[in-house]
């Protein structure tokens, strides 16, 4: 059947793709554009592993169709570091060992970045609520929260 032709912006660069009407943005990112940093956990919007931002808003890419992306600006984990230079959140996740298996990490980082863009000085509770849609089955969350708070503090001083 006829595919939908979409032009959009991905991590600041123009991108175009053809998609089947049922393909999700997550499938487009991973299978068509080969950006596999965005993970599939549940596929039903519960786990947040596939978090991206679309026009600045945090969303689960498994709950979006590729066809909906015409003219949109998408940011994924691949757009987070500046070349070889890690984003402060990425650096703090390494320093605090805020990951184990790593499957949830890209989604957590994308979600945390979106929080700090809106609220550069969140309380621990605000971080916990903002990240409630990102499930991690390894860390118990404490190191993730500490890393986000530490990154926020460093970014405020910068």
């Amino acid at each position: 059947m006829a595919k939908v032709h979409v032009t959009a912006t991905l991590n600041g660069n123009a991108v175009e793709f053809l998609c089947e009407t049922r393909q999700t943005l997550l499938q487009i990112l991973r299978d068509e554009l080969h950006l596999t940093g965005t993970k599939e956990g549940c596929g039903t919007g519960d786990c947040g592993a596939c978090s991206v931002t679309v026009d600045g808003r945090l969303m689960c890419s498994c709950l979006i169709l590729g066809a909906e992306m015409q003219g949109k600006s998408i940011q994924t984990i691949e757009g987070m570091a500046d070349g070889e230079k890690l984003h402060p959140l990425q650096r703090k996740f390494l320093e605090h060992a805020a990951l184990q298996c790593g499957v949830c990490t890209p989604g957590v980082l994308v979600a945390a970045k979106s929080l700090l863009e809106r609220n550069p000085d969140p309380t621990e509770e605000e971080v916990r609520y903002w990240l409630a849609g990102n499930l991690c089955r390894c860390t118990g969350y404490n190191k993730i929260i500490e890393a986000v708070l530490d990154a926020a503090s460093e970014m405020r001083r910068a």
Partner: protein, 290 residues
Amino acid sequence: MHEMRYEAPKTLAAAVSLLAGASGQARVLAGGTDLLIQMRGGRVDPELLVDIKGIPEMTSIVAENGVFRFGAAVPCMELVEHEAFAKAWPGVTDGANLIGSIQVRGRATAGGNLCNASPAADTVPALIAAGATVSVVGPKGRREVPVEDIATGPGKTSLARGEIVASFLLPRRPPRSGDAYLRFIPRTEMDIAVVGAGINLTLDESGVCSQARVCIGAVAERALLVREAAAALIGTKVDAEALQRMAAAVSAACRPIDDKRGTKEYRIKVAGVMARRAAQIALDRARRKN
């Protein structure tokens, strides 16, 4: 699986004609947080998806002389972040702010929440308590319908073929009005209501309740507007005795099912408790708005 057509019309008229003219199953796509999961699970297999997010009336929030009209496809996060709206309707905002995660709220819409017709929908009781109406557009034109008349049972609505819920209208509020929505879940976040309670009330100059609407969710096949519960508040100072009578009327109106989230007996009791606590919050908010 059918081949599926995806259309993104720019006008309501075009969307209605696409939906009315579909040969097979057609679905409106707003945030997709229910629909895409239903498609993935094989519960629906549409021939046509009509993405209505390109239609201005459906994606804007407009305030005029104290009346708010917001599009049925406005994501919950946009509603919650709209300062004037959140100030005017904190209870409706409470409901929109409880759905799923930040990610889900970035996409999920009040229109989708209403038309998905889950009895546990979190935006619906507060909107019904607020006295909101929806503008429904279809092949025969436009009609204004109270929110409580849309859902008829789990997954079922009163909408005719080709009809779309285009926008919500919230009436102008009298002074000294407050609303609140509370939901009970066994966790603090990310769960489906065991019971939800939306209360909207107005006080007169002497602090006596002059108007009230009480709506409860997840305790029947759809959200229930409980007029007897509102009547227990009207004419009182919303004191402990009035709250107790209101809670009893709420419990009496419940006709819940037993499921993994709660038994009938439990839901009936908790509905009264949640309504009482929500009424207390609505009362405090009304008192602060002199």
